[in-house]
Structure formats: C-alpha cells, structure tokens
Subunit: 301 residues, 2 copies
C-alpha cells in the first residue's frame, strides 16, 4: 500500500547551543517522507523547490525511495528557507526567519497515478493547500493532517474546513489548547473530535504522545533521550513513521494505530540525534525494531 | 508490613479558579498517610499539630487507620498553615503564605515501636528532620524521601546528606533539574543516582512519572483527567500509595515498584478530584483497582 505525503521541502538554518548549520535539507514533507520510507517503498511526495535546491538532496531523496514525480522544480524561483534557534533545553524554539519563496504560489495538481494512493499525510502546509489535495484524491483509505500554531492564528476558517475532512488530526499540546481554547488536554481532544476527525493524536515532545477517539485512549511513551542534537522534524518524522507503518500493514485497528504511533516515536527519536535527516542515513530497520522493543518494556507493569 | 510516614500535618487555604477553601486538612504527611491507608493498616504518621487542630480531623485520620501515637500536639502552639493559589490550567501554583508555627521547633523522637517499621517514607520536610529520622530507625527495608525546591535552594548541604542515605528519591521534574543543574531529565536522573539513591522517581504531573535505576527505565502514564478540582497533595498521594502498596506486598522487585507507582498514580488521580482529602473518603479499593486496570490498557501496544 502506498503513502502520499504533501508537505514542505526546505533549506534550513538551525542554531543550537552547540552548533549552527546552514541550508540543510529540511521541511515537513522531507522529514515525513524519509520516515515513511523505512516502512514502504516508494513514498510519493508532493512539494516544490527552487533552482537553488542542491542535486545532492534530490539524489538522497531518490535513494530513500521517494518518488520525485510530485516534486515541482521552479527554475526561476528560490527554495523555501527557514531559520530556527533552540534554547538550552531544546524546549523553546525561536524562528529566526521564514522565506516562503516558491511555496507562495504553489498550487499542486496531483499526477493521475497519485490520486488513488490509499494513505494520505498532509504535513504542515497552508490549510487551503491541504484542502485542495483532499479534493483531488479519489480512493484514500486514511487522511491524516498536521498543522501548526501559525495557521490556527492566521487561517482559522480555512483550517477548520480542512480539519472537518480528515480522519486523524495530529498536533502538539500547545496547539491543541490554542485551537480549542481549552486548558485541559483531554477536553481539548474531545472538542477536536467534535470538529470532525475520528481520532486526534496530541504530541507532547519529551513526554510522548496521546491518541484519543470517542471510545479509546492511548498514552504513548517517549523514547528516553540523553542526547538531543536537533529536535527539528521530530513531529513530522513521528507522523511519517506512523503513516508508513499503517500503509505497510494495511490495517486501521486501534492496535495497529498504537503500534504505528510507537514506530513513529522511534523514527523521531533517531531523527533528533543529528541535524537534518543525517541520522536517518545510517539507521537500519533492525535499529528501529530494537528501540520499539525497548519501549514496550518501558511501559510494562 | 508497616509503613512509617514522616511529614507535615497542616491547615491549608486553597484558591482555585472556581472556589476557595480555608483551613482544610492538608500536609505532606496527611496526604501520604491517607493514600497508604488504602493498602496497609495501621499507618504510622510522625507529625506535629497545634492546639487549634480540629478534633474532626484527628478523628478522620483515626478512621483511616492512622495511628496517632506519633502525632505530637503542642498545646500552646498553632498548627502549620499554608495558603496556595492555582492559575487557570492548574500547572502554576503561587504560595500565598507559609506559617511554620509548631513545625519550627519540632524534633521528633520516634516511639520505640516505630523504630522497626520496615517501610519509611520521608515526605517533604526540612532535610535535617528527615536525616534525624533516618538515624533513629533500626530495621528499615526501604527508605524513600521526597523534597522540594525550597530545600534545594535553602538547605542544599543538609539535603545532600539526606539524599545519600535514601534508597529512592522522589521529586518532580523541575526539582530534578534544579538539584542537578541538568536540563535533560535523563541526565538529571543519572546524576541523582550518583548522589546515592538506588532509584530516582521523577513526577511529571499530567505527563505521568518516570523511574530510573542504573539498569532500568519505567515510564508511568498519568491517569487521563478531564476535571481537576485541586491538585494539592497529588505528589504525596502518589508516594503514599506507592509505599502502601510496596508494604502490602513486601517485595522490592522492579515489577513491584512499577505496580506501586501505578497504584500511587491512581490514588493521586482520585485525590485531585476534590479539595483536601475529601474525595478519598468515598473511594473504595475496587475503584482503585478499576482505574489501575484502565491504565494498563492505556499503554498496551
């Protein structure tokens, strides 16, 4: 079963207390697609880059089994650039700059072969763009979307229309509170379920994640990390790993979704061990399986 | 097997966004002893009150099986009073006032029969007082202590001497970081293990708790709460439930400690549903067991 990821492909500049890197491969679509590629092949990615996008990055995506048919290259444009800076404990991130560039006028038209892909992940993107994709797909079995505080604040109406149409909404705890005005996370989750999604998954960073439906509650532990190098892309890696696993098993039971969340957690745990997608280059499926088994032990009682 | 709890017995004034209560029964010793009383009987409690301590509160403790031989009543003194105020999301608490009163000159001498009690819980108290108890006991099988930011800041040397002597240190995440100067929780935990304890349990409020030894890691989920009335005493209820369960099974294996943390989590979840120990008055052991079973399901994958 295939996965279709729609998200950004960016050149990131990241500052951490220990190091600064410039124009590294990033973006919600990149992280999610690379994460999904541990479980399914090929992964289809819809995104846009400029003429400045390095060939080495394109080559890397191809080696991961990411199908490039969906990546638009704007020859007279520049790639979306983002800069972020982390404080000492990695829990606070300041955006240094955001240059939308080619993404501003991006109105993707799905290749015909992409319309029948059963697993669709809408990574962080403008809500109108997410909605236009939902309106183009034909045979999706599962539509999952992420969002962020920026769209909640700036594009609330459009975002609401997108949320109504997705099966699972993934967002972080502060975003869930912002979206609903609730200070209690359980109440926030239940409010989101009333907006339309059948399930809401709330990411809590180092505290793991929770999944809530009308009739179920799952508390997913985080993988215990002693060394974080760069948390950028953790949430997208989580979602991409989750989608990849679900597509690989072709099943949407509560049990499969819980397992998918844990595989997503593991892929994210590797991702934050290095900048960009660097750590993922050396991760093998057996490494993922080993951490998955460790996590099973961490919650056994 | 018996449990000896050493902690404060106070009259609390609590303000929440919804209600204000005055001079209600509180204190680290009270919450911990009441929590332990669900599992063992009697619970021995060492504490001090003044002449103003209501008979109704003494009677209540007695109905819970709390042995009052260890409670000193200072006839010319006033009970420790504490006032706290919670903000909207219950995650921020401001101390309104602290009147130490009778606790300032409290130097407890253990009744002879108390010196052989195998399970000792030192709830939040001045570190010197905690240490003086450790030096009086003879046959303890397990010494567990809690602390708080105030002692870390004000009595660091004395606190360090206490920590060296305990088997398990329980503290919350911000305190673990404050105590060690580490911003990463896993690193903070490992630093604390080097101070002396064989295990550190870090409470994370709505995110659950974690337990770390040299060779084990356990991630305890929180019980999902939609309605919090008053979080005061949650940490002490957690620790008291943990101690009570351990004493009831008389076993200190990793498996038993994990179960004990989950029973503590459940007792704490009931505690925060009402002010003071009010909710505990109607909780039955079968209610505790039901939430325990629910929690087992929330982490199954």
């Amino acid at each position: 079963m295939g996965v279709l990821v729609v998200g950004t492909v960016t050149l990131d500049t990241i500052e951490t207390p220990n190091k600064r890197v410039e124009d590294v491969l990033g973006g919600s679509g990149t992280y999610a697609a690379v994460a999904a590629s541990f479980f399914v092949n090929p992964v289809r990615l819809i995104g846009v880059v400029g003429a400045d996008f390095p060939q080495a990055y394109t080559d890397f995506l191809q080696t991961r089994g990411v199908d490039l048919e969906g990546i638009t290259r704007v020859e007279n444009g520049k790639t979306f650039r983002w800069g972020g800076k982390y404080a000492d404990d990695f829990n606070v991130r300041d955006t240094l700059f955001t240059e939308l560039n080619v993404i501003e006028d991006f109105h993707p038209v799905l290749p015909a072969a992409y319309k029948d892909i059963p697993y669709l992940f809408l990574a962080n993107d403008p809500p109108e763009l997410q909605l236009s994709i939902i309106e183009q797909v034909k045979k999706t079995k599962l539509v999952v979307s992420d969002t962020m505080d920026f769209w909640i604040n700036e594009e609330r109406d459009a975002l609401q229309k997108t949320i109504e149409r997705v099966d699972i909404l993934i967002l972080n705890d502060s975003e869930a509170k912002l979206l609903t005005g609730e200070t209690n996370l359980m109440k926030a989750a239940r409010t989101i379920l009333r907006y339309g999604p059948k399930r809401v998954i709330i990411k809590k960073g180092e505290h793991g994640a929770i999944s809530i439906t009308e009739s179920s509650y799952f508390s997913a532990p985080a993988y215990p990390m002693t060394q974080v190098t760069d948390p950028t892309g953790a949430g997208d890696s989580f979602a991409g790993g989750l989608m990849g696993y679900l597509a690989s098993v072709g099943d949407l039971s509560e049990g499969s979704i819980r397992k998918a969340m844990m595989y997503g957690t593991v892929v994210a745990s590797f991702n934050i061990e290095d900048f960009s997608i660097n750590r993922q280059k050396s991760v093998q499926f057996q490494d993922i399986k080993a951490r998955y088994n460790e996590l099973q032990d961490t919650v056994r009682f």
